[in-house]
């Protein structure tokens, strides 16, 4: 191609603009990026920074006015026993939900990645993706119906003649309560249900990438299927589990709706944020509370990166 062919200018203002953009790819890039960056970089990131800055303000306990001198006293308040209690409860719940989801998700992902073929595989994928996107609030509502004292789960236990077992479970201190829908056990079930698809998809993605030849080689070298699973497949699927756990952990940390609808009367981090920014009007403490999930997730992501989880996202 000769320079003369390229240099022939296109007619009209649009043509000249088109030529200019072609000659200056940097300009095109800047034009493409300007609107999304204005939105995400200025509006969104700006709001986040402003929020974090407010956690360094404090509230005057007598007047209820926000004092705009920089201080760490709000973070000090975060370390009060009642607030530490909220943080510990939320993190424990997130950990329990993550473990439960990994256990339920693994067989589904393993079946879909290893044994399902053709139409079955497509069906599996669809059946997992569907609840991932579908109405969050309706899913929570479904469990309110199921777990109510007069609801489906109680009816099933009674119909099977093991209503006593349910009562015994509910009588366990801490996780029990008057009914499933007002106990931590109920909160835990709903969390595990709602975030399950977020765990299945990354595990399946990592299992799909385990090379067949590795499994065959381990069989040739005398490993039984059980040993091959434990020493070859499981370690290679671990990044997928960690990737899924990022979602289940983060989503549980920040949720304030599920514990409000199904669960006991004590608070989770999300509810504490809601109360402090709303009725209490203590924006600095609310902001400090939102820093907790950000820091926990930062640590978590740092650990996950070291385990190679980001390749499985």
């Amino acid at each position: 191609m000769t320079a003369a062919v390229i240099a022939a200018p296109r007619p009209g203002a649009l043509g000249r603009l088109s030529d200019a953009l072609f000659r200056h790819p940097g300009l095109l890039l800047a034009l493409l990026l300007a609107p999304p960056l204005l939105w995400l970089g200025v509006v969104y990131l700006g709001s986040l920074v402003a929020l974090l800055a407010q956690s360094l303000f404090s509230i005057d306990e007598f007047t209820g006015q926000i004092d705009r001198t920089l201080t760490l006293s709000t973070y000090g308040e975060l370390l009060r026993l009642a607030n530490l209690d909220i943080i510990a409860r939320t993190v424990l719940m997130a950990a329990a939900v993550t473990i439960a989801d990994a256990l339920i998700a693994f067989p589904i992902a393993y079946y879909a990645a290893t044994y399902a073929r053709g139409r079955t595989k497509a069906l599996f994928y669809f059946l997992v993706m569907m609840p991932l996107w579908s109405a969050y609030l309706v899913k929570v509502y479904a469990w309110k119906l199921l777990l109510a004292k007069e609801g489906v789960v109680g009816w099933v236990f009674d119909a099977l003649g093991i209503g006593v077992v349910l009562d015994a479970i509910l009588a366990i201190p801490v996780i029990g309560g008057p009914s499933l829908s007002t106990s931590y056990l109920g909160t835990f079930l709903v969390f595990a249900y709602v975030w399950l698809p977020y765990m299945i998809l990354p595990i399946q993605a990592s299992l799909e990438r385990v090379p067949k030849s590795l499994v065959e080689a381990s069989a040739d070298l005398g490993a039984s299927p059980r040993v091959a699973f434990r020493t070859v497949i499981l370690p290679l699927a671990l990044p997928g589990v960690v990737a899924g756990s990022i979602f289940t952990f983060s989503l549980t940390l920040g949720d304030f709706i599920i514990p409000q609808i199904v669960g006991g009367s004590t608070l989770f981090i999300g509810q504490a944020v809601l109360i402090h920014q709303g009725t209490a009007g203590n924006i600095p403490l609310a902001a400090a509370f939102t820093v907790v999930p950000i820091v926990v997730m930062g640590l978590y992501l740092w650990g996950a990166k070291r385990l190679g989880a980001f390749d499985a996202l």
């Binding site: 493409l32 939105w39 995400l40 709001s47 497509a122 309706v138 399950l196 998809l201 499994v215």
Partner: protein
Amino acid sequence: MPSDRKAPLPLTIAAVGGLLFLHVPLGFVILYAFTTEERSYEFPPPGLTLKWFSAVWDRPDVWSALRLSLEVAALSTALALVLGTLCAAALSRRPFFGREAISLLVILPIALPGIVTGIALRSAFNLADIPFSVFTIVLGHATFCIVVVYNNAVARFRRLHGSLVEASMDLGADGFQTFRHVILPNIATALLAGGMLAFALSFDEVIVTTFTAGQQATLPIWMLNELIRPRQRPITNVIAVFVILVTFVPILAAYYLTRDEDPAHRTGH
């Protein structure tokens, strides 16, 4: 892997059981929309009726919540389509300084818990003295919808061969004609899929909306109020079924539009 063998029975049971666990609860929501019981969640329902569907039809508050939800979802999807496509077009080209940082920025609104996004936007609106309105709700929704469009579009841009664009330019098309006649037809289905997922996501979003809505109630906000203080259970049941249907259709459509692509690209929600 033993793909030619049948799966061990315990594995099959665990996998099918897991899938049932995912889907059976929603079936009960549909059943409850027909129950004659008004005051409790009694199971099994004492009787079945269709009257709640017509009762919902006569509710102006439900209609206005629905209208607001559709309005917000349409506006945020439109905004997200423009911004997400621009982002994908820019980031799928050759590497440049800061590309990684920008792709992280796009994902941030869904990587951080929704409550962080919500309260950050709310306090920013307060600081800037912006009154809560449809505009503020849309602003919040578009922020997390961008990534959905972006994910779908960037996967397609990567598959779009640079040679097609070069051929079009060699044949005399300018950049705009190339976009109109070559790039757009190639990315259209990915944009449609991303747009539909964004619509479904916005239509049932409640966490960010709690913070960015003033007095207006979207349909999920209406439902949330009912869930916290149940007053009209039968109406809520019918609305739940309606929300399932409204989100099901776009998700199904998006699935068919992109099913031949690598599923790994679409897990990023």
